[in-house]
Structure formats: structure tokens, C-alpha cells
Amino acid sequence: MRSSLARQGARIARATFGHALALAAFALLAVTPTRALAHSQPYSFIDLRLDEHKLQGKAVAHVVDIAHELGIPAPDSLLRQGILDRYGASVEALLSSRFAIRSDGVGLRTRWTGIEPLPGRRSIVARFELPWERIPGRLHLACALFRYDPQHVTYLNLYESGRLRYQGLLDATRSNVEYFSGGGQGRLALIATFVGEGIHHIFIGPDHMLFIVGLLLLGGSVTRLLKIVTAFTVAHSITLALATLGILNPSPGIVEPAIALTIAFIGVENILASRNGRDVRALIAFGFGLIHGFGFAGVLRELGLPAGARAWALFSFNGGVEVAQSVIVLSVAPLLALLKSSSDAWSRRVVAVGSCCVILAGAVWFLQRVLPAS
């Protein structure tokens, strides 16, 4: 009887222990998703309102993120105004170190105007302002609020004169935003920026440069060269616009190797044309220009098109590409013409050697772009 009671007791104890263990595990399960639920989606929010006299902004951040960065053991304590006030200066210093605004390269110092808890969102809101004499043409925002969490996303909304002008997301892959204001100064800043980017892209990209040089190698009259360059310009403008407006978007995995092939092809065509005298460069320039336009569009996409001013950005970028192309044509064409007038034999040699170099470069780029990087 006694041993039966002992066995029963042991069984109850075991069952109780089992239940306790299972309950503990469920408590863990309950706690894990609850904690995850409390902050599994890491977000912060920044609103900027620009008007003629000042910028007013507010940053909303989750208490878990703030507490993590400041080493505060109980994040929810920040939801009490008294405690938040105690940490106010640290919170402002933290946010100031993670969010910067520059105008034309000059850093702008914001003034913090208040900080409050938002208990319903387990967040805090910090307000700031920045007086100015007029809205700058170009604002650069650099924001990486909580780098410790690679999933963190900051929602950025920018209003100008009461109108929502920009909606963006800042995360581990993107922490900078360029904003061009709506007035004349903003437009000028935008044109200058994108013309510069167009020029920069041509001169840092040897593939486009070599393609143009390849087209010019055979030389020819000013009218013929103009025809060739115009055909290339018209064609790449068409596809640049189509891709930028999202109408046609071929993969860079196709476009980039195709651009390399066009370069190799132009070298081959030069050699053949110098033998049979056939010159179809204008036609080729147009056809291949369509492919190069998609390449330009890829660059423009990476730069990020300003909302509400896409057409201006597109036009300006294209303008920059034309400026750079013109510089190449004006530098190379007279030299080739001079060489041809002084020695026809040397001119032919230059065409042959130059074309071989163009073919080789195109082939190498093609292989580099097709073969996976090791």
C-alpha cells in the first residue's frame, strides 16, 4: 500500500515535472514570439517638412532600438516621460550621429525641439528644426539609424511647402537620399548633377568610350561622322527613355555582355569595311545604340531618379552623355583625319591595329560579364 502510494506519488511528481517542463517550454515559446512580435519588424520613421523659412522634422524610433544603442536595460522605461527626459540628451546625440543633412556639401546642424514617448507604438518621437533663409536647391540626407540590425528600415517622407514630394526607404542597402527642391534653384541643381553624372559615366566607362572610338576609326567626312554619332545618340536616347520610364527593362545580365559584343563587332566591321569599302557604320551605330541605351539606363536607375523630376533627370543625364561623346569625337576625329592626310599607309595600320584592340577588349569584357566571378 505504502509502495503503491509512493509509486503514485512518484508518478504524480513525474507528471507534474513533465507538465512544468512543458509549461516552461510553452512559456518560452510564448515569450519568444511575443518578443519577436514586440519588435520583429524593425522600423523607424522620419518626416521632413520644408518651407521657405525652416525645415521641421520628426524621427520616430522603437524603444527597443534606442535602448539597445544606449545600453538601457529596460526599453519600456523610455515610455515614461520622466525617464525619457533623463536620457533626452543621449537620444538626441544618438540620432544626430546617425542622421545628417547636407546642402551643397555643407553639413546643416539641426536643433532638437522636444522628445516624447509614443506608448501606443512602443516608440519615442524626437522633433527637430533647422532655420534657413530659403529652401536649398539640393539636400543630401544620410541616414543609418540602427546599423546593428541589418533588417532595419527607415521610412522617409519629405514634404515641401505642405506637399508630399518624396517617399523613400532607407535600409542596409541604401542610406543616402538626394533631394532636389521644387523651385528654380532645385531644378538647376538637378540639371547640373545629372549632366555631370552623364559625363562622368562616359569617361569612367571605357566600354562606351571604346565603342565611339571604334566607330570613328575608319574616319570620313564631317557629315558622315555627324550621321554616325547622331544615329548612336538617337538610338540610345530611345532605349534610355523606355527603360527609365519602366516600359522596357531587359536584365543587365543580358545588356552588359551584349554591349561588350557590340564593341567586338565594331572592330570586326572596321577591318571588313577597310577591305571592301562598305561603310554601314550609321546603321550599326543606330542598332547598337539601342543596346547601349539600356546600359545608360542601368546607371541612371542606380543613381535614383528624383520623384516628380524624372524627365528633367533623364534629359540632363542624356545631355551629359552627349557632351562627353562630343568631347571624344572632337578629340579623336581631327587626329585621325590628320593622320590620313599625312600618310595613308599609316592610317590603314592604325585602323587595323586599333580595330584588333577594340575586338580584343570587347571579347575580354564579354567573357568577364558572362563568366561568373570566382
Binding site: 507528471a15 513533465g18 507538465h19 512543458a22 515559446l29 514570439p33 519577436a36 519588424q41 526607404l169 561568373p372
Partner: protein, 286 residues
């Protein structure tokens, strides 16, 4: 003795579930995305709000509207309406609208891609958990050489707000991956759904169904008092892309499907996945 054994089995299962869930990688544990209307029924003139949630076991956290990532957001009721002009980046309420009639409406949302990289072992485990057999097999063929999982994913979510015209629920909204009901959802009868990928039936997709109790009236239960739960049913789609899931009770239902294909832009990611969901509250038995 038998009872004790059963208890141990139950306790063991509870422990395994608890530790299994706790040990899941974050990305694998926070994937379902669904639209949640303020009410699953509408009458003419009612103001409805649409929010979105991300989580596991049909329990999640509100996901703010991301304007730059939204590819489409439409209301398909008596007319088709683009909801994007009425949205604001970062808002937890995706949209508010007034019911034009009592016929019911479908709301469909598709996001652009978000990048994600997981360690090889985590990625493989996530493929197994989501029943993504083909990508798992493709990676298995690479053996130990399989690298980190570079993925980009997109959300394709729909919600059906019930009304007098049940046929409105049966329309395809044109999402890249989509769960299209073939019958108006009602309690006690199996629901046949067709899975469409890029407009064509998708065979072999794992279709899962979760159910949660409703809150007051036809409103979803507040997330703060929801419990996470495992799928109530699951089935693979056949050659016609059709799967059947039993709608075994009243409540808020979530039908979810994931499909992963090799990424067309290899420089961006190795894989691209689409996460489709359909939420609704079926009519109870009369």
C-alpha cells in the same frame, strides 16, 4: 500507464514544438504576409481600412506601407480601383475606402523585391520548412558546395471582403503568384483554390491554411490577443494548379503559398520567391 505514455508523448511534442519554433532562423520565422481588413463584410457606405501583417502561425506585427516597394495595390469591387494614390509611405493602415455597394470586394497587393541572404544551412532549413522541394533539390545537387542563400522575395497578398456577389472572390487579380478560389468560401465545405504563377496554373505548390478566431463581428481579432497556431490544413496543387483545403470552422482564414524560382537577374540574387496569401472569413453554416 497508457495515459502516462500519452502524456509524455504530448509533452514531448509540446517541447519539440516549443524548442523548434524558438530555434527557427529569423527569416524563416517571419514570413507570412497577409492583408487584414477592418471588417470581412461590407455594406454600401461602410468605411473600411486595410492593414497588413507579417508573422508566423497567422499571428504577426503590423507592416507599414512601403510606397517605393509597392508594385500594385487594387480594389476589385463593382469597379477596379488603384488604391496607391490614397496611400502614405510608413502608414500602418494601407488604405481606407468606402464600400460602393454590398457586393463584396477583393483587395490585391503586390510588392517589389526585398533582398535577403541566409547562411547555407539556414537557407536549406527554410526551404524544407516551406516545402520548397525544387530549390532544395537543386541546392542538394551542389552538395557541400552550396553557398549562402541569396534570395529576393516579393509579397502577393489578397483579401476577400464578403458581400452579396460571391463571384467577385473568384476573379484573378493578376498578381505574379496568386491563390484564386474556385468556389465562394463557406464553412464546412472544402475550398478548391487554383494557384497561378505568372497567370498559369502552378503544379506541386504547397498550399497551407491557417484559421484564427474572429474578433467582434466580422473584424479580425486584435493581434495583441491572438495566438499563433500551426496550419489547419495543407495540400499540394495538382497539374491544373488546383488544391483543396477543408474549411472546417468559422473564423478568419489565411491560405498561403510560396513559390521560388531561380532569379533572372543573377547579380541581384540566386533565387526569387513569391509569397501569396488570401484572407477571408467564410459564411457560417446555416
Amino acid at each position: 500507464m497508457k495515459r502516462t505514455f500519452r502524456q509524455w508523448v504530448i509533452q514531448g511534442a509540446m517541447l519539440a514544438a516549443a524548442f523548434g519554433a524558438a530555434g527557427q532562423p529569423r527569416a524563416a520565422g517571419a514570413h507570412e504576409f497577409w492583408l487584414s481588413p477592418s471588417s470581412y463584410r461590407q455594406s454600401k457606405g461602410d468605411t473600411l481600412e486595410i492593414a497588413a501583417f507579417v508573422g508566423t502561425g497567422f499571428r504577426g506585427e503590423g507592416s507599414p506601407y512601403a510606397a517605393p516597394r509597392t508594385r500594385s495595390f487594387e480594389l476589385l469591387g463593382a469597379k477596379k480601383l488603384d488604391l496607391r494614390p490614397a496611400t502614405l509611405n510608413g502608414e500602418l493602415v494601407f488604405a481606407r475606402f468606402i464600400g460602393a455597394d454590398a457586393g463584396g470586394a477583393l483587395v490585391a497587393y503586390e510588392s517589389g523585391f526585398t533582398q535577403l541572404t541566409l547562411a547555407a544551412s539556414d537557407f536549406d532549413r527554410y526551404l524544407e520548412l516551406e516545402g520548397l522541394t525544387q530549390p532544395r533539390a537543386a541546392r542538394a545537387r551542389l552538395g557541400a558546395g552550396a553557398e549562402d542563400g541569396r534570395e529576393r522575395y516579393a509579397r502577393c497578398a489578397k483579401t476577400w471582403i464578403g458581400g452579396g456577389d460571391g463571384t467577385r472572390a473568384l476573379r484573378a487579380a493578376g498578381l505574379t503568384l496568386e491563390v484564386v478560389p474556385l468556389d465562394a468560401p463557406s464553412v464546412g465545405s472544402p475550398l478548391r483554390v487554383r494557384v497561378l504563377f505568372r497567370g498559369k496554373p502552378l503544379a506541386g505548390a504547397l498550399v497551407r491554411a491557417w484559421c484564427a478566431p474572429l474578433g467582434r463581428g466580422w473584424a479580425p481579432r486584435n493581434e495583441a490577443v491572438r495566438d499563433s497556431a500551426g496550419p489547419r490544413a495543407q495540400a499540394r496543387s495538382d497539374r491544373e494548379g488546383i488544391a483543396t483545403v477543408p474549411i472546417s470552422g468559422v473564423g478568419e482564414w489565411l491560405i498561403g503559398v510560396v513559390h521560388m524560382v531561380p532569379c533572372r537577374e543573377r547579380e541581384a540574387a540566386d533565387w526569387e520567391s513569391y509569397w501569396a496569401s488570401l484572407t477571408f472569413a467564410p459564411e457560417p453554416l446555416r
